[in-house]
Symmetry: C2
Subunit: 193 residues, 2 copies
Amino acid sequence: MKLLEDRIRKDGIVKAGNILKVDSFLNHQMDVKLFREMGKEWKRLFKDAGVNKILTIEASGIGIACVVAEEFDVPVVFAKKTQSLNIDGDVYSSKVTSFTKKKVYDIMVSKKYLSPEDRVLIIDDFLANGCAVDGLSDLIVESGATLVGVGIAIEKGFQTGGKVLRDKGIHLESLAIVESMNDETGEIIFREQ
Amino acid sequence: MKLLEDRIRKDGIVKAGNILKVDSFLNHQMDVKLFREMGKEWKRLFKDAGVNKILTIEASGIGIACVVAEEFDVPVVFAKKTQSLNIDGDVYSSKVTSFTKKKVYDIMVSKKYLSPEDRVLIIDDFLANGCAVDGLSDLIVESGATLVGVGIAIEKGFQTGGKVLRDKGIHLESLAIVESMNDETGEIIFREQ
């Protein structure tokens, strides 16, 4: 998606350790007008998937997912990362390893909000090694729902997550795929799509 | 806001310990159509406030804030609850005590995303003792920005947060104020507004 690639080139900052900071528009400060355009693009790409629920994970996926959900006219469910007193014990759960925070955490969704009738589109800001999507997929499988696709804002194409999902036959649509980036020059090369 | 009160009566669940569960539409599964109507109402209530940024706190405020931000045509910034490797050290920070999780945590916003030119509307899902809003206000004061108002989905009117904010002269607009609730009968009484 050229609009997103252009924005990443303009405002993204490449840091050592393969870190791409896009917190000025995607995951700390959030440009909701950009999210709206991303939502329209995913709606176009998944228009025949029969999506009736969007699943994401706290925290940075939630804003994108909510704007996107309006395009599909469906509710959003977000997986929570820690046990809260406000969540019933009756949950689907899995584990995720965070690339940026370098730790393993539990994720969970109340059993009330995923069921076999659900056709779920996963939305998240980043795809790197794919651990977050794997964890969310576990919750979907456990619930008997159907995973109909995965929409990612920025895929790190030099890590394995995207390839693994595509090899499994999962319909993955990453709006920008970073093929390589250079923290000395700041240059970012995107995969042709 | 009658639409929100009706929804709380229909789908909210009163639990012992003054807990009101609204996770079927507000803060776990999220009804973005409802968020859109809430956004329109806050836009009406804060139309003269010159809002140019919305500030919220992860995780459950983010979805509401993003939909609301479209009504105001401004960006959202969300305060993060834990240090992430993706956040620069240069942050405004404060502390918040969580009512539901019964613990104290640090919150922070990058100094890049709050500045003296900002006229900030705080948006959050719940107001009880007001600790989250206090913490967010600290960040705004520290940055030199102006707090122009606070928009809350559900205020627990029997706790002190709302009164304290109003006594300080802060423009607070809670779309539903729960005056009392009964976990045995499930009855919820709202304050007339």
